[in-house]
């Protein structure tokens, strides 16, 4: 994506093509963004204003809907639950994924192929379809209707890809690094912790984003595992919320806006990392 390449690419295009391309791209970006804009604008309106002037700009000082969503509903609780569940799951994925990835990448062993195949199978199988036995297993472990039911499920789903990302990266690190440390008498755990892992932050960031976004957004597993309102995550809580305020559209749009805000803002701030992380499984 150098400036030179973009120059030659653009200059070969006839004007009419370039114009058509612009029209399509602008129209597409409009379609992608306008619904989000309407959602945010509507959140500042009363239900009556939404029904009568759906496309008008609102009075941005009118923040009553937001105050009500944050002050009178369980939305803040859903928020905290989502943060706890996503944070703990991603942490577990990174810890366990790095352990297995490191072992496979840095130590020769006859079992390595077996271990990789084992995680490859986990990568392919949609755990959603095993939700019934998972439900019974979690019930037997006493985890049903707890945040841990979600955390262990998400960790199991995310672990295989993290193993592959970490192993793929750690394998590329030169062995001179650890050999030098070994000669200096460093122990194996010390080599891993102080020499190798500080270099592995970029793949960790990719694995973290790749897993954090789907976990934050997931709805299916909370729907099956969680009953108690105080333990619901944001997407699941949102369905409860939407059911309670069906006719108050101002509240509905404010709820949707508040639910969408953190991840959208984070994405806009870190779009390169988000895109890289979320397409990591599909782009070589």
């Amino acid at each position: 994506m150098t400036a030179i390449a973009s120059d030659t690419r653009a200059s070969r295009q006839p004007i009419s093509f370039a114009l058509l391309a612009q029209v399509i791209l602008i129209a597409n970006s409009f379609i992608m963004l306008y619904p989000v804009v309407v959602m945010v604008l509507s959140a500042f309106k009363t239900t009556g204003e939404i029904f009568e002037h759906p496309f008008a700009l609102p009075d941005f000082t009118q923040v009553g809907n937001f105050a009500k969503v944050l002050g009178e509903t369980a939305m803040p609780t859903y928020f905290m639950n989502s943060i706890l569940v996503t944070g703990t799951s991603v942490l577990l994925i990174l810890v366990l994924g790095t352990m297995a990835g490191y072992a496979v990448a840095r130590y020769e062993s006859r079992t390595n192929t077996f271990i990789l195949l084992f995680f490859l199978a986990g990568l392919m199988l949609p755990l959603k379809l095993a939700v019934i036995p998972l439900f019974i297993l979690l019930r037997d472990l006493g985890l049903l209707d707890s945040r841990w039911s979600l955390i262990v499920t998400y960790t199991a789903i995310g672990l295989p890809s993290a193993v592959f990302i970490m192993a793929g990266f750690l394998r590329t690190l030169p062995s001179e690094l650890e050999d030098a440390a070994r000669i200096d008498g460093a122990s194996e755990p010390r080599i891993m912790w102080s020499v190798m892992l500080p270099l592995a932050r970029p793949p960790m960031a990719i694995a973290a984003i790749q897993n954090a976004v789907p976990i934050w957004n997931d709805f299916f597993f909370p729907l099956v595992f969680i009953q108690t309102d105080a333990r619901k995550t944001l997407p699941q809580g949102l369905t409860t919320f939407m059911g309670e305020y069906t006719t108050d559209w101002g509240m509905l749009f404010a709820g949707l806006t508040i639910a969408a805000a953190p991840i959208t803002l984070l994405y806009i701030a870190l779009s390169r990392q988000f895109i890289q992380g979320m397409t990591a499984g599909a782009v070589k």
Binding site: M1, A5, R9, R12, A18, A21, I24, L25, I26, N28, S29, M32, L33, V36, M39, F51, F55, L96, G97, A100, A103, S109, F118, F119, G122, M124, L125, P126, L127, L129, A130, I132, P133, L134, L137, V152, A156, L159, V163, S175, E188, N217, F219, F220, V224, P235, Q236, L238, T239, M242, W249, L252, L256, A260, F274, I275, M278, T279, G281, A282
Partner: protein
């Protein structure tokens, strides 16, 4: 691989490696391998609520595929999954390919367009579903409001309440949500094509269409393989968008029913039929699982064959 590791590993090091690999493997065995293997087993039993009854052989499978009450629902839903798959292949993956090609040329504002197309992808499907449900509301949704204000009253419809448009509306909402994903995967694939190849074709005076058809499309085959396989798996696991926008019963009149909804209703019940049947649910999940694994692997192998190394 690495010469320095040729010497026999000490016991200490073996213990250390075991310490690294055993926890992840135990975790995966407990929460992935064991549930998936049990899912197969459960389908061969009769279930009373959460309690496993007696072994009934293939009875549950027969009921799912040929039973008088279950089979028509299953096949009706299966058909809708197929519709969604075909429509999304064209709109979502095909649209993504076109958008990627336009972005690949890095026209004015391409950085903005690249970020914009991915905004819906990061949103929760639940947010996307509710947002479009509100927009498609027959009286106050912005779609019909826009049609009214343009004087096109005759085109306004209860989109989600009309049997002829409901499934299409769900498919379009899904395409809106995810089109950015194939777009950016294809874009990355196109950027991996050596620029000389495209330059050479341009110098030869190849038309835009020929260039796309004969050079770009074959060379992004690896992206196509993975995108089509992911879409295939996604289309037959489709659940969230229909659940949020039309409810568990695939209303109106089952015209939006998909296998994900049937599975959930069968296994966990709903308002109208609160009986949950883990046996039938497991049988449906097992069949769906085998179908996805068999066809997704065939699709992958077939698509892989057309990939070119460069």
């Amino acid at each position: 691989m690495l010469v320095s590791r040729k010497q026999a590993p000490s016991l200490k090091r073996q213990l250390w490696v075991a310490f690294l690999v055993i926890p992840p493997i135990v975790f995966m065995s407990l929460f992935v391998v064991y549930p998936i293997l049990s899912a197969f087993a459960y389908a061969f039993y009769d279930w009373q609520g959460l309690a496993r009854g007696e072994f009934v052989g293939l009875k549950n499978f027969k009921e799912v595929l040929f039973g008088a009450t279950m089979a028509p629902v299953v096949w009706n839903a299966f058909l809708h999954n197929v519709y969604a798959l075909v429509a999304l292949m064209i709109i979502q993956n095909g649209g993504g390919f076109v958008l990627a090609w336009l972005l690949y040329k890095e026209p004015f504002g391409f950085r903005f367009h690249r970020i914009a197309v991915f905004v819906p992808v990061v949103l929760s499907t639940i947010i996307v579903g509710f947002l479009w449900k509100l927009f498609l509301n027959p009286n106050f949704g912005i779609i019909n409001q826009a049609l009214y204000s343009l004087g096109l009253d005759s085109l306004a419809k209860p989109w989600l309440g009309d049997s002829s448009t409901a499934l299409g509306a769900l498919i379009l909402a899904n395409a809106w949500h995810f089109v950015g994903f194939p777009t950016l995967v294809y874009l990355a694939g196109m950027q991996r094509i050596p620029p000389e190849i495209i330059e050479a074709a341009r110098l030869d005076g190849t038309s835009e269409w020929q260039l796309l058809k004969n050079i770009v499309w074959p060379l992004v085959a690896p992206s196509t393989t993975i995108l089509f396989t992911l879409l295939f798996i996604g289309a037959f696991n489709w659940f969230e968008i229909p659940y949020v926008m039309v409810g568990l019963d695939g209303s109106p009149f089952g015209t939006t029913d998909v296998l994900g909804l049937v599975f959930y209703r069968t296994a966990f019940g709903n308002q109208s039929a609160s009986i949950q049947n883990f046996g039938l649910g497991s049988a449906l999940a097992t069949l769906l699982f085998l179908f996805i694994v068999v066809f997704a692997s065939m699709l992958t192998l077939w698509l892989r064959r057309r990939e070119i190394q460069f």
